[in-house]
C-alpha cells in the first residue's frame, strides 16, 4: 500500500495519474435516463468502469408530526455484492449509509425541491419520494456517480395516478417534479499535498482526506462532507471547494 501511495504521488508530481489523466479530469462520464420501466424515474451513470443505477418509487404516507404540510424524500444506497468482491450481502454497511446520506443532503439542503408541493392533504397525506441507489460495478468514486444519477432520476420522474386514496402505478401522469436547480456533488481527494477528482479504485485506497462538495449552478454550496483519516487546513478546504464548484459546472452540462 505504501508503494502504491508513493507511486501515485510521484505521478502527481509529474501532473499525471495511473491511467494518464490530469489531476482534475474525470474519466468519461455517461448518463442514461429511463432505464427501467418499473420505477417512476430512473437513471444509470457510468464513470469509467464505475456503474451505478438509481430508481425512484413514490409512496403516499402520513406526514412527519413536525412538518404536517410537507412531503419528503428518502435516499437508500445498496452496495450490491455483485459490484465488488469485498461487498457482502446483509444490512447496509457504514459506507452504504454514508453514501446515502451524502446524496440525501446534497438534494435536500439545496432546496431545489419544494417539499410543500409534495403535500396532498395537510396533516394527513404526503408524497414520499424514495431514491434508491444500486451499484452495478464499483471502480471508484461511487459518491459522485450516485449524486449525478440521483438528480438525473429525479428530473426523469413522473408521478403515477393517485385517485380515491390509491396509487395506480400502472398509470403514469405527465406531472414531474418541479426542480428549481441542479445540485451536484464533486468529491475532491487529497493525497500527499495534491488534489484530484474522480479517484479510480486504486487511488481510492490511498486517500488521505476527501471533501464532497455539493453546489448549485450559481456556485452556492449546499452540502459538504469531509472524510478520510487526515486533517485539512483552511487553505486546503478553500482550494478543494473551488475545484468542487468548477467540476460541478462541468457535470451539470450532462443533466438535461
Amino acid at each position: 500500500m505504501n508503494e502504491l501511495r508513493e507511486h501515485v504521488i510521484k505521478l502527481f508530481e509529474a501532473d499525471t495519474r495511473l491511467d494518464g489523466r490530469k489531476l482534475t479530469d474525470y474519466r468519461p462520464v455517461k448518463l442514461e435516463v429511463g432505464i427501467t420501466s418499473t420505477a417512476e424515474g430512473s437513471s444509470r451513470v457510468k464513470i469509467g468502469q464505475t456503474d451505478v443505477m438509481v430508481g425512484i418509487k413514490v409512496e403516499v404516507m402520513q406526514p412527519y408530526p413536525d412538518t404536517p404540510g410537507e412531503g419528503s424524500i428518502m435516499v437508500g444506497a445498496e452496495l450490491l455484492p455483485l459490484s465488488n468482491p469485498d461487498f457482502e450481502p446483509g444490512p447496509p454497511s457504514i459506507q452504504a449509509v454514508e453514501l446515502a446520506r451524502i446524496v440525501d443532503r446534497g438534494i435536500r439542503e439545496s432546496k431545489c425541491l419544494d417539499f410543500k408541493k409534495l403535500c396532498i392533504k395537510e396533516g394527513e397525506k404526503i408524497w414520499m419520494i424514495i431514491i434508491d441507489i444500486c451499484t452495478i460495478n464499483d471502480a471508484g468514486n461511487l459518491p459522485d456517480a450516485s449524486a449525478l444519477a440521483a438528480i438525473a432520476a429525479l428530473k426523469n420522474m413522473k408521478f403515477p395516478e393517485y385517485k380515491d386514496d390509491k396509487i395506480d402505478y400502472k398509470k403514469k401522469t405527465n406531472k414531474g417534479l418541479d426542480l428549481k436547480d441542479t445540485p451536484l456533488s464533486v468529491t475532491v481527494i487529497k493525497i500527499g499535498d495534491k488534489f484530484i477528482v474522480d479517484p479510480d479504485y486504486d487511488e481510492g485506497k490511498v486517500v488521505d482526506a476527501r471533501l464532497t462538495v455539493a453546489s448549485l449552478s450559481d456556485g452556492t454550496l449546499c452540502a459538504l462532507q469531509k472524510g478520510g483519516d487526515y486533517p485539512l487546513s483552511a487553505d486546503d478546504v478553500s482550494k478543494m471547494v473551488d475545484i468542487g464548484i468548477e467540476k460541478g459546472k462541468e457535470l451539470r452540462k450532462l443533466v438535461k
Partner: protein
Amino acid sequence: MAYKERLDKRKFDEPRKIEAKAGVIPNADGSAYFKIGNTAAYAAVYGPRNLHPKFLQDPSKGILRCHYNMMPFSSSGDRVRPGGSRRSKEISMVTEKSLLPVLDLKEYPNSVVDVFIELPETEAGSRCAGICAASMALADAGLAMKDLVAAVSVGRVDDKLVVDLDYKEESYEDGPVADIPLAMMPNHDRVTLLQMDGLISKDDLKKVLGMGKKVLKDIYEVQKKALKDKYK
C-alpha cells in the same frame, strides 16, 4: 369464456423478446445480463474463493451460493424493501439447486462460488431470467460445466397452454391459471427447476413441459451466442 388470443398478441408457444449479454460487470470473475420482456436480470460470479466462516467449508468439494435480490425499484407496484424476504430466500435456494447439477466443484475444496443475481426491472418470470443470467455468468467465469441451464415459465391460462407467462396472464381472472417455472439442461434433457402454482391436469402438464422444452432449446442458443459474442 375461452382464452382465444394472448393479451400481447404472442403465439401461445412464443416467449417474449429476449436479450442476452455476457461480461457486463468488469469486477466479477464472470457476469451476464438476461432480459425477457420487461424482466431484466444481472448475474455476477465471484470465485471459486476462500469460504469464511470456516465451519461452512467442505473439504471434499467447493460449494455454490446463490443470492437472488430484487432492486427496490424493480416492481411495478410498491417499492421492494431492501434486505431480503422469505420469497427471495426460497428463490435463492431453488436457483442454487437448478444450477448445481451442471457444475463440477470437486476441484475446489473448502471454496465457495458466489452467484449474485440482481433484478432492476421485473414483470413475471424473474427467477427464470435470473437462472438464465446466472448460468451464463458461471460459463463466463470459466468454470467447468457439462451444460448450460436455460429457464422459462410455462403454464396454462384458462383453456390454453402457454409459454412465458407475463404479469397480466399470471393474474388472469376469467379462468384458472397455472404458472410453472421450469429450468432444464438443454443437452441432457434433465429438469433442474420445477415449481407450480395453480391448477392443471396431468396430461396438460406433460404437454406443456414439452412446449417448454422446445423453447428452452431456443433460449439455450441465445445464451450460447451471447457467450461467443463476447470474444468477437
